[in-house]
Amino acid sequence: MRKGAHVRTRLVTLLLALIAALLAIPGTAAADAQGGESVWGQIRNPDSDDEGVEGVDIAVSQEGEEIGSATTDADGNWEVEVPEPGTYQVVLDEETVPEEFDLLQVPAGAERDVEVRADQRFAVVYRLVPQGEGDVAASPSESQEADSEDSGGSGEEDAAGSGAEEGEGVVEAPGVATGPGLANQIIGLTVAGLLFGLIIAISSVGLSLIFGTTRLINFAHGDMVTFGAVMAMIFSGTSMLTGLHEPFADVPVLGLVTNPLIVGTVLAVVCGAAVGGVLELFLWRPLRKRNVAMIQMFIVTIGVALLLRHLLLVVFGANREKYVQFRIQDMVNIGPIAITPRDLGIMVLSVLVLVAVASMLQFTRIGKAMRAVSDNRDLAESSGIDVNRVTVYVWMLGGGLSALGGVFLGLNQSVYWQMGFHLLLLMFAAVILGGLGTAYGAMVGGLVIGLVAQLSTLWFSAQLMNVWALLIMIVVLLVRPQGILGRRERVG
C-alpha cells in the first residue's frame, strides 16, 4: 500500500516536471524572415567520392527570370543565393559537364523545381556517372543506391533539406523501406526497430557485464563501437584483403567468406577485444589496485572516451562514409516485409551472436564465472574464482561485441566519428531499462529501446527519436530503478 503511494507520488512529480518542461519552452511565435535563403549543392566525381567536378554551370531562375548562376569550384561546391522564399527552377548546363561524365537522369533530370523556405539552404543533388550510363534507365540496384544515399543525409530534396541538418546527435532511421499505408509502415518500422534494437543489444551486453563485474560505468563504450566500425573500414579497404578476395570472387561460399568486409569485421572484432583487454590490464586494474574511488574511475572513462574519439577523428576524418561492400542491394520480399539481404543478414547474425553469448553465459565455465562475479564479486572471489582473469575476459568480450555492433551500425547507416557516442546514450537507456549488470537485461532493453525509437517516428519527427528513448530511461529510473530484469537490492 505504502509502496504504491510512493510510486504514485513519483509519477505525479514526473508529470509536473513534464508540464514545467513544456512551459519552459516558450510558446510559438511567427517566424521572422532574416534572409539567407540559398540553393546549393556539391557535384562529386563518380570515380572517387572525395573529389568534386570543377566548372559545371548551374543557373537558378524564377518564372523564367534568371536569379543567379554559379560554377562549381575545385571541390565541386556551388551555391546561389536567392532573394526570398519561394519556388525556383534550377538548371544544370549539361554542356559544361566534362566529357567523360554524364548526368544521371534518375530520379530527375537537369531541370529541377525546388521550393525554398525562409532561412533555408536548399540542397540540390546532381549525380554524375561515367559516360554512357546516364541515359540508361537506371537499373534497380543503381536507383536503390541513390535512395539509400539520400536517406544517409546527403541531402536530396527532402523536406528538411539543409546541410546543417545532417548528423549532430541524431542517429538516423535505419534504411528499411516502407510501403504506403499505416499497416505497412508499422511493419516496416517494426523491422527497422528490431534491427536497431539488435544492434543496440549487441553493443550494450558488454557495457552491462562490465558494470556488473567492476561496478564501472564505461563512458568509453560508445567510442569502442566507433573503433570497431572504423577498423573494419580500414581493414576492408586494404589491398591485401581485396587481393585475397579476388581469386574467390566467383565461388559461391568462399566468395562471401573472403569478402574484404567480412574478413575486416573479424579483424575489427579481434582488435576491439584487444582494446578492451589492454584497457583492463593497463588502466583499470592498476587503478583498482590504487584504490581509486568509483567516481574518479568514472571520470577517467570520460577521459578515455574523449581521447579515443578524437584520435579516431584525426585518423578517420569528419566525413560520413559507407562501406564499399554490400552497398548496392535489391530488396527481397518476405511476406509483407521488404528488406535488403544486407539488413536481413545483420539481423540473423545478431540473433546468432546473442544466442551464442547467452549460451556461453549459461552453460560454459567462464560464462558462469562471469555471472557469478557480476552478481557478487567478493563471494565469487572467496569461492575460488579468479576474479581478475574473469574481468579481463569480460572486457575482451565487451570490446569485441561493441566492435561488432559498430560494424553492423555502420553497414546499416554510415560510419562517422561520433556514431558510437550518439549510440552511447541509447545503450545506457537499454542497460538501465533491462537492469544494470545483467547481460540478458541489456538484450531485452536494447530491443525495447530500438523498437520505441523507430515506432515513435510514426507519430513524431525522426529528430526526436532519441528523446523518447532517453525519456523512457528517466521514467524507468524513477519507477523501477533496478530495471526489468534487475534485482531490487542492487540499487541504493
Binding site: 546527435g169 577521459g303 584520435l311
Partner: protein
C-alpha cells in the same frame, strides 16, 4: 617572431570573456560536485537554457535584454527543479547518466524542427546582443578605442563584456564564500561527506541538494547568457556534452571543493589550450608536421583534454590548490 604573438593571444584568451564564462560555469559545477558531491554531467544544459533565454526573448518576442536575462535565470531554476526533483534521490552514477541524458534531450528539443519558430532550429538565433553593447556606447562606461599593453589588446566592446563577466564571477565567488561559511554551507559539505549522517541529524538532505543544484544551475545559466552576448549568435550544436567535460577538466585542474579552484582552472586551461592550438597551427602551416592537417588541431585539443582529465584524476585529484583529503572522501 611569432612566439610573442602566440603568448599574447593565449593571455588574451586566459583573461578574456570566454575564460570568465567558463569560470562562472565551473563555479556552478563546483557548487554541485565540489561542495555537495552531486555528479552533474549536464551543466551544459543550464548554459543552453541560459543562452536561449536571452536569444529567444530578444529575437523571437522582441523583449528587452534585461527581461531576457530574467527569463534565462528563471529557465535555469526550472531546469534545476525538473532535473533535481526526480533524480536527486538516485545513486551518484545514475544521477550522472540522467543529467547527461537530460542535457542531450534539451539540445535535441531546441534544435528540432517543431521548435524552429521559437528557437530557430539548427540555425539558432542571431543578432540579439546589440542592446548590450549599445548600452555601453550610450552610458560610456568604456569609451570607444583599443586598450592594452603590447600585443595584448582588447576593443571597447570586448572590455565591456569582460567587465560584466568578471563582475558576475566576483559576485558568484563572494556568494559561494559566504554561503560556505554559513550553517547552510556546513550542511551541504556534510552531505558530500556522509549523507546518512546528515539525515540522522534531522536535516532534509534532499532539499539541501536541490537548493545547491538550483544555485549552481543559475551560475551555469548566467554563463550561458554571457556566451550568447559574447558570440552574438548561438546554435544548439555548440552545447554538446563536450562542454561539460571541458568544465570538469578545468574544475579538476583548479581544485575541486575550493573557492579559487574553479577560477584558476579555466584561466590556466584556456591559456594552455590556446598556446597548444596556436603552436600546432603555426607548426602545421610551416610544414613542420607533414602528417597533420591544420584542421586536426581542434581534435587533438580535445584528445589532450581527455588525457589531462585522466592524469589529473589519477595523480592529483585535488588539483592545483585543493586539499587531497577533501577530494578523497567521496560519495561511493
Amino acid at each position: 617572431m611569432d612566439i610573442m604573438m602566440t603568448l599574447a593571444l593565449s593571455l588574451e584568451t586566459a583573461i578574456g570573456p570566454i575564460a570568465a564564462i567558463y569560470v562562472l560555469a565551473a563555479i556552478g559545477l563546483n557548487m554541485h560536485f565540489g561542495y555537495t558531491g552531486l555528479l552533474n554531467f549536464g551543466q551544459v544544459g543550464f548554459m543552453l537554457v541560459g543562452a536561449y533565454g536571452v536569444a529567444v526573448c530578444v529575437t523571437t518576442f522582441g523583449l528587452p535584454l534585461w527581461v531576457g536575462f530574467c527569463v534565462s535565470v528563471l529557465c535555469s531554476v526550472v531546469l534545476a527543479l525538473i532535473l533535481g526533483i526526480p533524480t536527486l534521490r538516485l545513486r551518484a552514477d545514475y544521477l550522472a547518466i540522467s543529467t547527461i541524458a537530460v542535457a542531450e534531450v534539451l539540445r535535441l528539443l531546441y534544435r528540432a524542427e517543431f521548435a524552429r519558430p521559437v528557437t530557430g532550429g539548427v540555425y539558432g538565433r542571431q543578432s540579439f546582443a546589440d542592446a548590450f553593447y549599445e548600452f555601453n556606447d550610450r552610458v560610456g562606461i568604456i569609451p570607444p578605442g583599443s586598450y592594452g599593453i603590447g600585443d595584448v589588446d582588447f576593443s571597447a566592446d570586448e572590455l565591456w563584456l569582460m567587465l560584466v563577466s568578471w563582475a558576475c564571477v566576483a559576485l558568484a565567488l563572494g556568494m559561494t564564500a559566504m554561503l560556505m561559511r554559513s550553517p547552510w554551507g556546513r550542511v551541504i559539505k556534510g552531505i558530500r561527506e556522509d549523507e546518512d549522517a546528515v539525515r540522522a541529524l534531522g536535516k532534509d538532505a534532499f532539499t539541501y541538494k536541490l537548493q545547491s543544484l538550483v544555485l549552481g544551475g543559475v551560475f551555469g545559466g548566467v554563463a550561458g547568457v554571457l556566451i550568447a552576448l559574447n558570440q552574438g549568435n548561438i546554435t544548439p550544436d555548440q552545447f554538446m556534452p563536450q562542454v561539460t567535460f571541458y568544465l570538469w577538466a578545468m574544475l579538476l585542474l583548479g581544485g575541486v571543493g575550493t573557492l579559487w579552484g574553479p577560477v584558476i582552472g579555466p584561466v590556466i586551461m584556456w591559456f594552455l589550450l590556446t598556446l597548444f592550438d596556436e603552436t600546432l597551427r603555426s607548426l602545421a602551416s610551416s610544414g613542420a608536421l607533414p602528417f597533420l592537417a591544420t584542421s586536426d588541431s581542434g581534435a587533438l585539443r580535445h584528445a589532450l583534454v581527455g588525457i589531462a582529465l585522466m592524469l589529473l584524476i589519477i595523480y592529483r585529484p585535488q588539483g592545483l590548490v585543493g586539499n587531497r583529503k577533501e577530494m578523497l572522501v567521496n560519495v561511493k
